[in-house]
Symmetry: C2
């Protein structure tokens, strides 16, 4: 029926009523004390999520704009950039660096695999003049979570900056910006932050500022020095998306009220239940448990059933939206997001719809078997 | 987590986004051409749902106010009223008639049973001076649906009026006001009409108007003649709940876009799936299939488990709100509403939460078995 829809794509994700309510207040001016106080409060709360004392900026653009902000402010033409690629969004980060004239060194680990730290160490040793390392925390296209702590420890020994795409991970999966040595962390509103798209959040380390301030690439809207100039006054250089700022504070308040440890534990639980259910249905997971994302689960289409056909049935007949494959695995996988405003019953809905659609395609599925496996995880009765 | 709630009580029921959107437009004046046109359109649409050419009024009060409107306009002190009682709301209808001085003849069929037409026929023959017959279409407290067509055929042969409480039924279960001879049909906004509470809708037949116009009970806010006086101008005698009128039109548009036959078929499907699931879990249904409601399913608490304890777990741990028992079955049953903005996945959520809560109370439940039974109904693969 109309309006009965379940958004399980990796962004935009469902928006909670409390966030919609905050966003529906009349828009105010952004050159006001009220806005400055709001921005200050938001940054204080974001610092808790980022686990950082670094400067944190809220930018009015999407996640890709955040990645470009990181690159435009640190990469000058001819600079060496080491791109750690584990899927479509790793490729995008590299493409942005290429657009800014970087001399790219690519380490591509393939769809479904995570970053191999040994390979990173070798490249860093081989090229002591690498200026930036581009890494993805949660690779949205594959449901792989990379070891940012491990990468950070390697990069910290070098003069290079570590730029991290945390667009689909931050808020769902813990990140420790200061402890792990993340020089620029990029994230966005429409994933684990439970907001519509339109805002990006970035943090900038002391080590990064040295490079940022001297960088020679053209930048205006994405200029971090322009942000920094008005940061103490809690102002923004250009017009901010005021309504989304209202929503961001409401979302942060929800996350902090739940407790960040609980938020991360909830995402881990949902991932475990989803993976147990997929296995119980005899389907294959793209990522190994070792590097599986807590925010999104990618599943290979079953033998003889087109993954995109399955998605069509699930959307049309049950109102549940899964994401398809991208890049190398386009048409071969489907992806179930369980990030942000997502809880146990969302996994039940996803798996139940999947079961029925599988039955409709003639796949030999045991109805209820996936749901049972998820329920066992929720009840702490997992089959080992 | 905060805000992740599933309302499965028999009113208020979940409100669709399109209805919230309609209600969030700025409130307009009610003595305007714009409001008159809105009211006219709403009545035209309601007539399709009621299947009537009778006058239909939208009143600013809850369902009980609609029942009182029916009584206050037709029952004068000393009038004989035949009350057909099948649960708590049948008792309430009788109590209202008693408050207006009716000489009550009660036929109480007990919780879980439907009206026995033979008993009705006998009483009508025994008391040819009965002035009104009070019947409940869908008895919300038990999940029993009464045969309004059958009752209507008996009452039509007498001078008595048939007053029907359709509060939780209309919009979910077909009713044919004109064909079945319903003289006053009462319903409300917060059940199958997918709105917040605050509006009631009543239809009044030609036969009813003869009685209404001469009735001697005091009435002012509930005066049907006062409504009728301004009906041609599409006005209301007192201030209407304008915002809910906006929502009502949006909800009616959704229902008519889906098609009323499809709306009724959807409710029938959800009831069948819920009942199959409950049976698969080894639990007992309060109502027999023969008279089971398509809008709500009442289930006996399992042996050794307090029904209200089960509801507490389901609400607290899974965010799913079931209703408890009322009157004679208080504390002994729980009730799952599947009315209004409800579809397949809501049944899956309800049953999955029930399964997990049963497991937590130590009840020997086979996880996933209820979900499987519901899925089979949805796939047209019911076990007969």
């Amino acid at each position: 029926m109309q309006d009965k829809e379940y958004l399980m794509i990796p962004g935009p994700t469902p928006v909670p009523p409390a966030v919609y309510a905050a966003m529906s207040r009349p828009v105010g001016g952004h050159r006001t004390d009220e806005f400055a106080r709001l921005y200050m409060r938001i940054v204080e709360k974001l610092k808790k999520v980022f686990q950082t004392e670094n400067d944190v900026f809220v930018l009015t653009n999407s996640g890709t704009g955040a990645l470009e902000t990181a690159v435009a402010n640190t990469v000058s033409p001819g600079d060496k950039a080491l791109a750690l690629i584990t899927g479509n969004f790793g490729e995008r980060f590299a493409a942005i660096a290429r657009a800014y004239g970087a001399e790219l060194i690519e380490l591509n680990f393939g769809y479904g695999n995570d970053v191999d730290l040994k390979a990173v160490e070798e490249k860093l040793n081989e090229h002591p003049d690498i200026k930036v390392v581009l890494a993805t925390q949660n690779e949205t296209s594959t449901g792989v979570c990379n070891d940012i702590a491990g990468i950070g420890a390697l990069v910290a020994r070098t003069p290079a900056l570590l730029l991290v795409d945390g667009v689909s991970g931050v808020g769902a999966i813990e990140i420790k910006v200061d402890e792990w040595g993340v020089d620029i962390l990029c994230t966005a509103s429409q994933k684990a932050f439970m907001l519509p798209p339109g805002l990006a959040m970035v943090s900038v380390s002391e080590k990064a500022w040295q490079v940022v301030n001297g960088n020679r690439s053209p930048r205006f809207y994405f200029s971090l020095p322009a942000c920094k100039k008005v940061y103490g006054k809690w102002n923004t250089p250009y017009t901010p998306s005021v309504t989304l700022f209202y929503g961001l504070e409401a979302a942060l308040d929800m996350m902090l009220a739940e407790g960040l440890d609980n938020v991360y534990a909830r995402h881990a639980l949902l991932a475990r239940a989803t993976r147990a259910a997929v296995r119980a249905l005899g389907l294959k997971l793209l990522a190994e448990d070792r590097c599986a994302s807590n925010a999104l689960t990618a599943v290979w289409g079953p033998e003889g059933v087109a993954a995109d056909e399955l998605r069509k049935i699930i959307k049309k007949q049950y109102g549940v939206a899964f994401a398809g494959g991208q890049g190398d695995v386009k048409g071969k996988i489907f992806r179930i997001a369980h990030m942000g405003f997502s809880d146990k019953m969302d996994v039940i809905i996803a798996i139940s719809a999947l079961e029925m659609a599988l039955a409709q395609t003639g796949y030999p599925v045991q109805l209820g078997a996936g749901v049972k496996a998820a329920q066992e995880v929720f009840l702490g009765r997992e089959q080992k």
